[in-house]
Subunit: 166 residues, 2 copies
Amino acid sequence: MSTAPKSDIIRPTDDQARALARSLVADARYGALAIRDPETGFPHVTRVAVGMQGDGAPLLLVSTLAHHTRALLQDPACALLLGEPGDKGDPLIHPRLSLQARAVEIDKTPLRQAWLASHPKTTLYFDFPDFKMLRLEITLAHLNGGFGKAFHLTGEDFHISPTSTH
Amino acid sequence: MSTAPKSDIIRPTDDQARALARSLVADARYGALAIRDPETGFPHVTRVAVGMQGDGAPLLLVSTLAHHTRALLQDPACALLLGEPGDKGDPLIHPRLSLQARAVEIDKTPLRQAWLASHPKTTLYFDFPDFKMLRLEITLAHLNGGFGKAFHLTGEDFHISPTSTH
């Protein structure tokens, strides 16, 4: 367990922080996925394609030929870093979101049209039988909105209700 | 343990793969660091500043106020994703490197000049007492050089000898 006074640097979560966190999920096209490597016990981190389901849950399109996918299907505990800085500015000031979640395999067929609209390059392999869609059930998140702007969020903070205009 | 036939998609490691993997470390200015979260048992992934020591080992500059640093100082097993796609091309074709490593705290003072030359924006906080430098002792690595170009490497593949011209 950690012993440092984390309350000193974490701000109270407000609607502005929730909106920024949700926008980082909505805008994500890829991210860094961390899993527990069953062969070494170490964490393992890799780049994956990321989307969002209508209720705000992150989606991953992954191949079962990949080490991280096989690991996740056996052990769903994972983490995802979103908020890519691109080529502009300081990457360590750019807002980013660290999620912890459980990955659940879902049927990709009903999501095909929406996914390919936002990820046209994945059309080449979306229908390959080894490609699966995983939905992430968020358990907690750390939002870093820039130097000194840190927030803790819950899974509920990401939920978009059917009547929302998001 | 995984059961899929991974040998089908992993190519034999050659000098070209080693050179690409080393260049991804040498060129990195930041990356995605994954640790084991002592509070949840889940992986946790965050963005950190990354450099390279003269012998080829990755270096991290991290604050002990951060959750991931406190976790790493107690449990050195970690993973690092390098190879940022920037704004150009398909992020899932861009070469990237997934390292697994043990983090060891080292004295940042002798590395100050070299670090600040490659990371000028960190001059603002490099000397803060809560900022520590961690050296990563690589245990293994997965290199993804683009679709279908996957390689496994060892820590030894990254070692740059004092007589090397790298």
